[in-house]
């Protein structure tokens, strides 16, 4: 795939990402992500929202280089990372990304201080320098007084701060955070998100945050909605996480595909699966006008949709004619 100049300048460019997990025994394979495309600029703060099981964490892990996608490609400033092995990913992990887990994932047998120092030592920073930088970062995050405690002795908020410190100390270009405030109370959540925002503002660090939290998502410049492994819409600052329908903007993928939320699909399916699209200008605004085609005959049957490719199918077929997925 040849990247354009603009594409090469994107912090993250992801195309057609799939994540398929093999089913155990008789159970079916699980398609966690299905044809995800993402463009992210330097310094953007994006949140990923969606119901449980929609593939948010999988997406974050894949974009963060912690997991290989089943298909698709990922570029960081034009450099592809999808085919790199573990050792080749190391410079990328050191220089580009920081990852904050929901659980913190600190090394339980090292103190908070050593958890941060260790990151710098891995990057080849000299011992004294590493210690100094770690102390400074922990101080900045307000937990210097607890830096010699083991993780088991820290509160949830303190642990999350240590995890953030561990990430920040390397000054990454983008921070991936998977439910960073999921285990925190309101006060700590505020503190953590405040830190993120400060970084975003001061260091121009990009953020990709997975969240369920209304409170967290309001910090994002934009929010992308993920459902059943697909981006179905984008939300702005006016997003209400409890009622995404209100603020959803339908996302037209770079390759021209359009993903509609399931509710909308069900509504439209009554009218068949063939539609006429036209772009209509009304004043300064442009609209897409969609009209069902005269013929959209599916034999008068009640329409159902393939769970994988979302195309309309006849249940009696037993199998989707488009992608071959089982309908049983």
């Amino acid at each position: 795939m040849e990247l354009t100049e603009t594409q090469s300048k994107q912090l993250i460019l992801a195309r057609n990402l799939y994540a398929i997990y093999k089913g155990k025994g008789d159970s079916q394979n699980v398609v966690a992500l299905s044809g995800i495309n993402l463009d992210m600029k330097d310094g953007e703060f994006i949140s990923i929202v969606g119901p449980s099981g929609s593939g948010k964490s999988s997406l974050l892990r894949i974009l963060g280089g912690l997991q290989n996608p089943s298909a698709g490609r990922i570029f960081y400033h034009g450099n592809e990372i999808t085919k790199l092995d573990e050792d080749a990913l190391v410079p990328f992990r050191r220089n580009y990304i920081g990852y904050v887990f929901q659980e913190g994932n600190l090394i339980p047998t090292q103190s908070a201080f050593m958890n941060v120092v260790q990151t710098l030592r891995f990057a080849g920073v000299e011992r004294n320098d590493a210690r100094a930088r770690a102390t400074e970062t922990l101080d900045k995050l307000g937990i210097k007084h607890r830096m010699h405690a083991l993780p088991s002795k820290l509160s949830g908020g303190e642990r999350q701060r240590v995890a953030i410190a561990r990430t920040l100390v390397m000054k990454p270009k983008v921070i991936f955070a998977d439910e960073p405030t999921g285990n925190l109370d309101y006060e700590n959540s505020e503190a953590v998100m405040g830190l993120f925002k400060d970084l975003h503002r001061e260091e121009n660090t990009a953020f990709l945050v997975v969240t369920h939290s209304k409170h967290t998502s309001k910090y994002a410049d934009r929010s992308i909605e993920l459902r059943d492994g697909r981006f179905v819409g984008e939300h702005g600052l006016d997003m209400d996480i409890d009622d995404l329908d209100l603020s959803r903007k339908v996302l037209i993928q770079p390759d021209g595909t359009l993903n509609l939320p399931l509710e909308m699909l069900k509504l439209l399916s009554m009218y068949g699966n063939l539609w006429d699209f036209s772009v209509v200008k009304e004043g300064d605004s442009h609209y897409i006008k969609a009209t069902p085609a005269e013929v959209s005959d599916l034999g008068g049957h009640k329409h159902e949709f393939c769970p994988v490719c979302k195309k309309a199918v006849k249940p009696s077929d037993g199998q989707c004619n488009s992608c071959g997925a089982s309908l049983m």
């Binding site: 912690l66 997991q67 290989n68 190391v90 990852y99 994932n105 090394i107 990151t119 891995f122 390397m170």
Partner: protein
């Protein structure tokens, strides 16, 4: 800065080890055990070699010999040299002997050899035996320690001082062959001095010879085989007759000049072993060679060169012992090989467990930006720190282990009072340390690289996920473990049938030519059986340990105690994969300790049985001369019965044999072994023996029976030589006897190529030999008597009484000797088995403890969750114990069964080694001490349950919030 980094790294490694004690314990246990076993074996065999060499040197007659280079220097020159070297601290004593040093004497002329031989013409007219080599010594021979070595076991005395009468000291073999004893007079002994062609067509033909006859030679002493060789080298016993050199002087005109011309004398030198490095064979030989040259320098002649030439005699003698030592090392290695494999597996498994525990940590390191080299360095450094610690402890333990092997007087019996013996083992043995360290380090390095790479290459997400995948190995996936176990058990069953029954003696197997004792079948059945059973049992252990409790769940889940937690236990049994490795190790270690325990007890029992059967009664007393002693012995009130054991030499067809006479009335109360009594039972044979018949009845040894192709009911001719002193004629007499039984071991050490007859038969034979001129009273004279004591008598006190009897030579007391059996040279076999037993038991306990603790640690969160949903602490205990106890009990039982099978499979190997080392002559019947086996199993169970208890207590007391939170 480099040093700081190293120190920093070492510090963090230590910190990580201390913070992860459980996983560190698992790894370090394997290192300690591996190093201690390997080092212990090497240290022990070196000390054993040293002891063997010291023993050989100590018991050797002399180590160095000198001969004159030129014949102008005769015997007196050698005596002069002997005087010169008396004050050398390296020399204990020296003397001059006339006669060959070895069986062949090479002279400088290269064409002739001189031989001296002696024939007992009267007694052995047909020269059926080889000519005996005569040695001539002077009067002062008994003043030297050299004669002490020869006379260390002598009946009579080494008295050759008389130059007026002819005297001789003869070896036991001659005395037995010709029924000679101290005081016997041999009418004629011919001594031949012959010059024989050495090479060419006429080689071996005497060119010149002189024979002189000694008349009426008195036997003043009968000696047992000299030299320090073990039973294995009994064949090296020399058949030498000793005479006073003055005898040769009487024939000086013809004989002495020839002897002088051929330099047929040598100076024998006995070294002072304290002045030589006995422990190092090469160094010792160098030191001896230096001594030889130093002495040579003292004997400088007119030519300015030495007049004598020395030979290092001990070098040849020690050579076979170096071979023996190598064989012992090989045997030791084979014996401990399963243990070493076990320790290496423990090490490997411990490392895998440690890495498994760190999988998540490794994933997080990668997120932090660590590359594989950095992660690998951390794992390697920690492993090296653990290795250094483990190797140090292991080496120190090995000293203790070597001492255990060396001080063991029997299986699990030690002589710990001898602190000097412990000091022998306390040393820095470079070979032991380097060998064990290199092997263990190699295994550790390979595992760290191989397994470490596996974990490091994992995708971060996979690594960070909790829980481990349960991977079934190749053998289990393909059910090969079941095949291996079946094969091993079948092989074990075949061995049980071989050892305990005569199943394979049946005609059917002879027809199809199946003999399980042949090499190829031994390889197929025993060798493969051992490997398959051991490994197969261990691999299938997990299968059985979970399957059996599941199948019997109705039984135990119906117990009221388990009612509330039955569901959890059931699901735990089905899903728990983390106990598979623990069960594997338990079965692996317990089977070895069972094997060692059974073979240790069997070995001990065999040694004691052999002793008992060799004596055959409470006492076996030998006297210096043949006479009637029964009345003397019976005078002691503690004596219940006495049986003399007279002997007669005879021949049957072309086989020579010894006929032992036994009293039919007492014979049944002696100790017989029923092996050999296959055709006719022991009881029947002994009963028949008492009944007089037309033809005298005998029992013959199985070896002799095989040579003669004789079986029960056959009549054979006993042939004896008649000596007619009047007519000076020898003739043959025959006595027909009937075979009524065959034996492997008869009381009094009567062996398999002998015959047992009753007194009437012996009397008849002796009468024939004496040409019917002999008259006997009721008692038949004998050298050897078998005595049974009354019940409750102090046998050791009675023994002291016997030693005061006239002519007393030696006594063997069964009770005393069984208690002292451990002091005999046992080549460390009981010690090795003890070490095998203890080490595998310790490995079992450590494994049970460490791995149970790790598994319980992993379940802490599970227990915390159970508590949060309302489980009581009692229910938590019941769950943990219930599950673990069922699994462990099955493992312990299965491991014991595997060990039993291994014992039978390896019995042949142990029997071979025992026979090779002269440990036991009887068949090696497995002795099962069930209490030992039960204790074994209980120890493991207790270890595991203790680990469970400690971990569960800690779980129950833990802070639930902390336990359920994820870090």
């Amino acid at each position: 800065m480099g040093i700081m980094n190293i120190l920093d790294s070492a510090f963090h490694s230590f910190q990580s080890i201390l913070r992860n004690k459980r996983r560190s314990t698992a790894m370090i246990a394997g290192i300690i055990l591996g190093v201690s076993i390997l080092s212990g074996i090497i240290i022990y065999t070196e000390v054993l070699q040293q002891e063997n060499f010291e023993s050989i040197v100590d018991s050797a007659e002399y180590e160095v010999s000198f001969k004159v280079i030129e014949s102008i220097h005769g015997e007196s020159h050698l005596w002069d040299v002997s005087s010169l070297i008396q004050n050398d601290v390296r020399i204990e004593s020296s003397t001059v002997i006339t006669g060959p040093r070895t069986s062949v004497f090479d002279n400088e002329k290269n064409s002739f050899v001189l031989t001296l031989s002696s024939e007992l013409e009267d007694l052995d007219p047909e020269s059926e035996l080889s000519a005996f080599t005569p040695l001539f010594v002077r009067d002062n021979f008994t003043d030297t320690s050299i004669s002490d070595k020869i006379t260390s076991s002598i009946v009579g005395s080494f008295n050759l001082t008389s130059t007026e009468t002819n005297q001789t000291v003869i070896p036991e073999i001659i005395a037995t062959q010709f029924n000679l004893q101290v005081g016997s007079i041999i009418e004629h002994i011919n001594i031949t001095v012959a010059e024989t062609v050495e090479r060419g067509p006429s080689a071996g033909v005497p060119a010149k010879s002189e024979t002189f006859t000694l008349e009426n030679v008195e036997v003043t002493g009968i000696y047992s085989s000299s030299g320090g060789a073990a039973g294995l080298f009994a064949n090296f016993e020399s058949s030498k007759l000793y005479f006073n050199t003055a005898i040769l002087d009487r024939f000086g005109e013809n004989v002495m000049p020839l002897i002088n011309e051929y330099k047929y004398q040598y100076l024998a030198v006995k070294i002072n072993s304290n002045e030589f490095t006995i422990t190092d064979l090469d160094l010792m030989n160098t030191e001896i060679n230096t001594l030889i040259n130093d002495i040579s320098q003292l004997a400088i002649g007119e030519s300015g060169d030495t007049t004598i030439e020395g030979t290092n005699e001990i070098e040849q003698l020690l050579g076979p012992f170096e071979i023996l030592n190598v064989l012992l090392i090989i045997f030791d290695v084979i014996l401990v090989l399963p243990l070493v494999i076990l320790c290496l597996y423990l090490l490997s498994f411990g490392l895998e467990l440690a890495l498994e525990e760190r999988k998540r940590e490794i994933g997080i390191f990668k997120v932090q930006g660590a590359d594989s080299k950095q992660i690998f360095t951390m794992i390697r450094n920690e492993s090296l720190v653990l290795f250094s610690l483990g190797a140090t402890i292991g080496y120190l333990s090995s000293i203790f282990g070597a001492w255990i092997i060396g001080s063991a007087t029997g299986f699990m019996e030690f002589d710990l009072d001898n602190i000097n013996q412990f000091n022998q083992f306390v040393s820095f043995n470079v070979a032991a340390l380097v060998t064990s360290v290199l092997i263990i380090l190699a295994v550790l390095t390979i595992n760290v690289y191989k397994k470490g790479r596996e974990f490091i290459d994992l995708e971060v997400t996979e690594a960070v996920q909790r829980g481990s995948k349960i991977k079934k190995g190749f053998f289990r996936r393909n059910n090969l473990d079941i095949f291996m176990v079946a094969y091993g058990l079948l092989a074990g069953l075949i061995n049980i049938l071989i050892w305990e029954t005569q199943f394979f003696e049946a005609e059917f197997f002879k027809k199809i030519n199946f003999d399980p004792n042949t090499f190829i079948w031994t390889l197929i059945i025993d060798f493969l059986g051992i490997i398959f059973l051991w490994l197969g049992a261990a691999i299938s252990g997990a299968r059985i340990a979970k399957w059996l409790p599941q199948k019997s769940e109705r039984l135990f889940l119906s117990l009221p105690k388990l009612k509330n937690v039955a569901l959890i236990i059931r699901s735990g049994l089905k899903r728990r994969g983390d106990i598979d490795n623990l069960v594997f190790i338990i079965v692996l270690t317990l089977s070895i300790s069972t094997l060692a325990g059974i073979q240790g007890v069997t070995d001990q029992a065999l040694a004691e049985d052999t002793l008992e059967y060799n004596i055959g009664a409470d006492y076996k007393i030998t006297f210096s001369s043949r006479s009637n002693r029964s009345a003397d012995i019976m005078q002691y009130t503690g004596v219940k019965e006495v049986m003399e054991l007279p002997t007669v030499s005879a021949s049957v067809l072309s086989s020579s044999t010894t006929v032992y006479g036994m009293n039919p009335d007492i014979i049944s109360s002696l100790l017989w072994h029923d092996l050999g009594f296959e055709e006719v039972s022991l009881e029947k044979a002994l009963a028949d023996f008492k009944v007089k018949g037309d033809i005298p009845k005998v029992m013959i040894g199985t070896l002799l029976a095989e040579e003669l192709t004789a079986s029960i009911g056959d009549e054979i001719n006993l042939r004896v030589k008649i000596a007619d002193p009047v007519e000076n004629v020898t003739d043959i007499a025959r006595l027909k006897v009937k075979v009524i039984g065959t034996f492997n071991h008869a009381p009094g050490g009567v062996d398999q190529d002998s015959i047992v007859a009753n007194y009437d038969t012996i009397t008849e034979l002796q009468s024939l030999i004496a040409n019917n001129t002999l008259v006997y009273d009721d008692q038949i004279p004998a050298n050897t008597y078998l005595v049974n004591a009354k019940n409750g008598v102090d046998k050791n006190a009675l023994e002291r009484d016997f030693t005061s009897l006239e002519g007393y030579n030696e006594i063997r007391n069964v009770e005393r000797e069984i208690s002292e059996i451990g002091q005999e040279n046992n080549y460390g076999i009981p010690g090795l088995l003890t070490m095998m037993y203890l080490t595998s038991l310790i490995a079992s306990i450590i494994s049970a403890f460490a791995f149970s603790a790790i598994i319980m640690e992993r379940r802490k969160r599970e227990f915390a969750v159970l508590q949060t949903v309302g489980a009581t602490s009692t229910q938590i205990y019941t769950t943990a114990f219930g599950e673990n106890f069922l699994v462990m009990l099955t493992s312990v039982i299965w491991g014991t069964i595997a060990g039993l099978g291994l014992s039978y499979l390896m019995n042949g190997f142990f029997a071979f080694i025992g026979e090779f080392l002269g440990r036991g002559e009887l068949p090696r019947t497995i002795v099962l001490e069930w209490n030992t086996l039960i204790i074994n199993g209980l120890i493991i169970l207790v270890g595991m349950l203790s680990a469970t208890l400690i971990s569960v207590i800690s779980s129950v007391r833990q802070d639930l919030t902390e336990a359920t939170r994820t870090i």
